[in-house]
């Protein structure tokens, strides 16, 4: 239980790890936009190449990033199948029973699949694998801080996230303690149907919630004792600075977007 990783951060020394987290958040948003700009084979090809380049730059083993696709396997399959059967077009590929598959359908199924894969690849490389959750939290606070003008609690939001991250392992440990205590009293968690198992969780959840509330109360008092008064007048020990490399990365991303737009007009084959 103690070895649970925060998020899926993969420690390594790479230009992507060294980049400012704020820039990585911006780049991943731009990358998502880029994935939606693609309209034809050339552009999607370039998108796939870019994902490969990101993977190499991040120095993370490919099998680890591929693992992040697994939970979304069914969504990908569903999207591909849907596009394959329901996209209409002009040139019929095969037709049987009441189903007609068009060439356009094959193209759009493949395009959607590539788009989803690249989206997951890009955002997980930028955000989860090369950025620690705490750096990400700070980045979100920093990026959202202009919203303070419209009274959006950017600091409080980031503080909540980081406290949640801090307490994940503590609560995991507590859960296993409570489970053991309940097992010792004869609660059976591992047999019976879905309903029975769900019911068996009640004696775990109630003590867990009660103790979390108590923890929250104590933590709030400890924070007050350490002069916490929200984001007002607060400084930071670790201040991250945007460097030339970060801006160079931004320039590359914009150039990449422009290239995609250009490739969209050099169309060969089907255009979405």
């Amino acid at each position: 239980m103690k070895n649970i990783a925060f998020g899926q951060y993969y420690p390594a020394h790479s230009p992507l790890h060294a980049m400012d987290a704020r820039m990585k958040v911006i780049l991943s948003v731009l990358y998502i936009v880029a994935a939606f700009l693609c309209k034809n084979v050339l552009a999607f090809g370039a998108l796939l190449v870019s994902a490969a380049v990101l993977l190499i730059l991040s120095r993370i083993p490919a099998r680890i990033v591929l693992r992040s696709l697994r939970p979304l396997f069914f969504i990908m399959l569903f999207t591909a199948v849907l596009n394959l059967f329901f996209a209409t077009g002009t040139s019929v590929l095969v037709s049987f029973w009441r189903i007609t598959i068009y060439v356009e359908g094959v193209y759009s199924a493949v395009f959607m699949l590539v788009r989803i894969i690249v989206l997951i690849f890009g955002t997980s490389i930028f955000l989860t694998y090369t950025t620690t959750p705490i750096a990400l939290t700070d980045a979100i606070e920093s990026l959202l801080s202009p919203l303070r003008l419209i009274r959006f609690p950017a600091h409080e939001f980031a503080m909540m996230m980081s406290i949640a991250l801090r307490f994940i392992p503590t609560l995991m440990e507590e859960t296993s303690k409570i489970m053991n205590a309940q097992k010792a009293r004869g609660v059976d968690f591992s047999s019976g149907g879905l309903v029975k198992r769900a019911k068996a969780l009640v004696p775990i959840l109630i003590p867990l919630i009660v103790s979390s509330v108590r923890r929250a109360d104590e933590l709030a008092m400890a924070m007050e004792c350490r002069c916490y008064r929200g984001g007002k007048g607060r400084t930071k020990m670790k201040v991250s600075h945007l460097r030339i490399g970060d801006f160079a990365a931004l320039a590359c991303m914009i150039a990449f977007g422009a290239t995609l737009l250009y490739l969209n007009h050099r169309g060969i084959g089907y255009t979405m």
Binding site: K2, F6, P133, I134, S162, I163, L165, R166, P169, T170, E173, R215, E218, L219, M221, A222, M223, E224, C225, R226, C227, Y228, R229, G233, R234, T235, K236, M237, K238, V239
Partner: protein, 288 residues
């Protein structure tokens, strides 16, 4: 006569309302003076009001009546502003019982930086303070660790470092050793004793461990919201009957000496530490 007490209370009272809306008095007139640089243990059984007293000292709770001065500030003054609260809390740091529920950040050094960050200290100075505080509690090599991987004693030392980084004049340990194993307890006690000796930080240790209280300069016993005994550990432990009446034990060595005396063994003095007790018994054996 003590000059300029760091904490001064006179007839301090506090009560809380229970579920039925009735006022339950917790403190019924506490009168105390604690000087700068003292190492004081506050003893009392559960529900004696000792933790409540500590929470009054840094304005977590507000007293109902009586005088309360901390660091020259009148805490019962109606003109206190929020800034005064924070100025006070910077000076009077508090370490709580549960080590898990007082660490805020996911990395040790970030947690130590939390206090000075709240105070608006410039970044470079926070770095210096954090490094110094971690060195003082002997946790420098754990600066980049995650708090949940540390032992209880180490977590409490990190919590102490977090307070030291605010450069306080006083540290209150609110049963800070109650959830620790014996070695963790020793780590924490030795750390605060060194702070008291070397940096002159006033230490208030709220505890029900007699052996910890025996190491303080002064022991204050609270029972049912009033101070019933106040003196050096030697003076306080010399009267085991009153301690037992307050629902407390005496240190094992003290009760051993008292038991031997009751059996007619001639022993001089009132030892409070194990070493003193051993010496005393050895001397008594030589005489025989």
């Amino acid at each position: 006569m003590m000059k300029e007490p760091f904490i001064h209370t006179k007839d301090l009272c506090y009560s809380y309302s229970d579920e039925n809306g009735l006022q339950q008095p917790v403190l019924r007139g506490i009168t105390l003076d604690i000087a700068k640089g003292e190492y004081v243990a506050i003893l009392g059984h559960n529900g004696s009001g000792k933790s409540t007293l500590a929470k009054l000292f840094n304005m977590i709770l507000e007293p109902d009546s009586g005088e309360l001065f901390v660091a020259g500030q009148d805490l019962t003054s109606p003109t206190l502003t929020e800034d005064d609260f924070y100025a006070l809390r910077r000076q009077v740091g508090m370490v709580f019982q549960n080590p898990d529920n007082q660490l805020v950040a996911t990395i040790v050094e970030d947690d130590v930086a939390f206090g000075p960050e709240n105070l608006g200290v410039p970044s470079a100075e926070i770095r210096a303070r954090v490094d110094a505080a971690l060195a003082t509690v002997g946790m420098t090599s754990y600066a980049r660790h995650e708090p949940h991987r540390l032992s209880g004693g180490q977590k409490q030392r990190v919590a102490i470092a977090g307070i030291l980084a605010m450069e306080p004049n006083c540290i209150i340990l609110d049963e800070a050793t109650a959830m620790l194993d014996p070695s963790g307890r020793k780590e924490v006690i030795e750390t605060v004793e060194a702070l008291n000796r070397e940096k002159g930080i006033t230490v208030l240790s709220i505890t029900h461990y007699m052996n910890e209280a025996a190491r303080a300069d002064r022991v204050i016993v609270i029972d049912d919201g009033v101070v019933i005994m106040d003196g050096t550990p030697r003076e306080v432990f010399a009267d085991p009957a009153r301690l037992l009446a307050a629902g407390l034990d005496v240190p094992q060595c003290t009760s051993l000496v008292h038991a031997l005396r009751a059996e007619g063994v001639a022993l001089e003095g009132d030892p409070v530490t194990v070493e003193e007790c051993a010496d005393l018994i050895c001397r008594a054996l030589e005489v025989i």
